[in-house]
Symmetry: C2
Subunit: 324 residues, 2 copies
């Protein structure tokens, strides 16, 4: 883990909280050369890593607590997209300077997310440099129960959790590209929550294992990520534009472009055979967020049907992270 | 894993080489939201993460192949210090621009290291930004056979692999702080190899498991890292300065300071009870590098004996990474 000098004290002060009791599977946590973890018998390790760079993945003025939360959330979202139970993570934090107040808020956001997602910090490294956060997140899934991008089959339905386009609309508001007076307060609040405190859809993990044929999380935009899933599965799709779950502002302004191209929502996009419709519809009524059927898997082609017209979904493959 | 747009093509082109056959335990590698790995039955997961930032952990002019090699080596070294078998890793690469030639050389160094250490890349993320490399490395060790920092007991011997101070001398040569004409060619070559292509001491893993009471790798300097080990074990030490394995230049110039404070050698420092002396001496004769007994663990205190005088080891706790 290479903790040394000031690094060591940063980790001790902010990331090794004494009141966080270690679970039994964590044989050795922060403070040695590496962590020691006991794998649950019969399960596969699910491993992912994502980096957030200041000014690229989040605006430089972003709250420290949001950066801590989001850095873990985007990784937990990848675990959920594999139907894995989030478990433990390592943190690589590069900081321009020793700012105790900033670190406290960052750690607060990070640990609040860890508590909500059921994850434990087991190691990390802090270095001096331009602000960036890499998190390497791990989960567990029973062998044979993981959901990949490659299992979609023609005839499957396409489902999406929550709403798409909220985070992208928050960025437009931040940049002054959308008139804030035209967006109602509840929508504005929801959009900034989506951007700054995204919620990986951990509630969907059991459903995914039982019903899904393929899954991916929406980080780059619905059209782009659906494209990755279709590529991996070797199939096509038709999306019914009017069914896309969008906020009131996007619906009133025909802002479906933003729903299709906007990234950073971390909603879960998955496919399931038609036989799963009833179970998914029933589950949707119990969930704290929407679950919407937005289209179908086909043999080939990438179609969007909107206002009765067919368009090419690939025209919406965008990349919408914040850019300087 | 969030591979998208140009990221996706970078990983495909440089890091997903078709001729690297996947082992059976790798159920799913690069290309989905996360990797799927089957833990070997009965073993613990050993997990570490280290970041190298350009201009801080290596001079900006460092060869791309060296950066790739070293980023993996410093992490594998942490696994070795736990007596774990290196297995798989994830890469977070932040790059200022798309430089195919640089990436090719970086990947070449990285994969050469992976082949030598017996490791496989299973996932990662590439982002745009100031050059930095985080690697999260994983290994496996039988439950009860891991070696930590905290097991040293009074009476144990203190051992070090290879030579200390070589990497620090290379930095001094680079900075023009040492007259290059006074260092013989073989020493100069060895020093630059230590700095740019450090070798985790994987050959010592079986010996560590059988003989060591505690271990740590020397990344921050021998005195500093020994200090971490002594702190974790709650013991003291006496180091015999004349026994420190140093190169000819350091010996001729009484450069023991550099041997004690210089980091970045990634040698293995460990303790073992006196009963292990014979086995370790015998093993040392078969190893491709030196294995030297440099002192003993005591109840308390941190002493260096040099020229018959006692000094305080804590005066040599330094941090000697490259600084801008």
């Amino acid at each position: 883990m290479g903790v040394s000098g000031s690094e060591f004290s940063i980790i001790r002060r902010h990331f090794q909280l004494p009141d966080r009791s270690a679970p039994e599977w964590l044989r050795l946590g922060i403070g040695d050369d590496a962590a020691l973890i006991e794998p649950p018998p019969g399960r596969l390790l699910v491993s992912t890593l994502d980096t957030l760079v200041s000014g690229r993945h989040f605006p430089e003025a972003t709250e420290a607590a949001s950066i801590g939360w989001k850095a873990l959330a985007v990784n937990a979202s990848d675990l959920v997209a594999m139907a894995a139970d989030p478990a433990h993570f390592l943190l690589a934090l590069t900081l321009p300077d020793d700012d105790d107040a900033w670190l406290e808020r960052f750690a607060d956001g990070l640990f609040r997310a860890a508590d909500v997602f059921g994850m434990i910090l087991v190691g990390g490294d802090t270095t001096r440099g331009p602000l960036s956060v890499s998190i390497q997140a791990n989960g567990w899934v029973d062998a044979g129960r993981a959901v990949t991008r490659s299992g979609a089959r023609p005839g499957d339905r396409i489902w999406i959790s929550g709403r798409v386009g909220d985070a992208a609309l928050a960025l437009r508001l931040l940049r002054g590209e959308v008139d804030a007076d035209r967006v109602d307060a509840a929508t504005t609040a929801a959009c900034f929550t989506a951007l700054n405190y995204p919620r990986p859809r951990i509630e969907l993990i059991p459903l995914l294992r039982q019903q899904a044929s393929a899954a991916i999380d929406v980080s780059d935009g619905l059209a782009a990520d659906l494209g990755h899933l279709l590529d991996a599965s070797g199939v096509g799709a038709v999306i019914e534009g009017e069914r896309l779950p969008v906020n009131r502002y996007l619906r009133d302004t025909d802002g479906f472009d933003l729903a299709l191209t906007g990234g950073d929502d971390y909603e879960l996009l998955f496919t399931a055979p038609p036989e799963a419709d009833a179970a998914l519809d029933a589950a949707a009524r119990e969930l704290p967020f929407a679950l919407t059927r937005i289209g179908s898997v086909t043999e080939s082609g990438r179609h969007l049907v909107l206002d009765g017209r067919h368009r090419d979904l690939d025209d919406y493959r965008g990349y919408d992270h914040f850019r300087e």
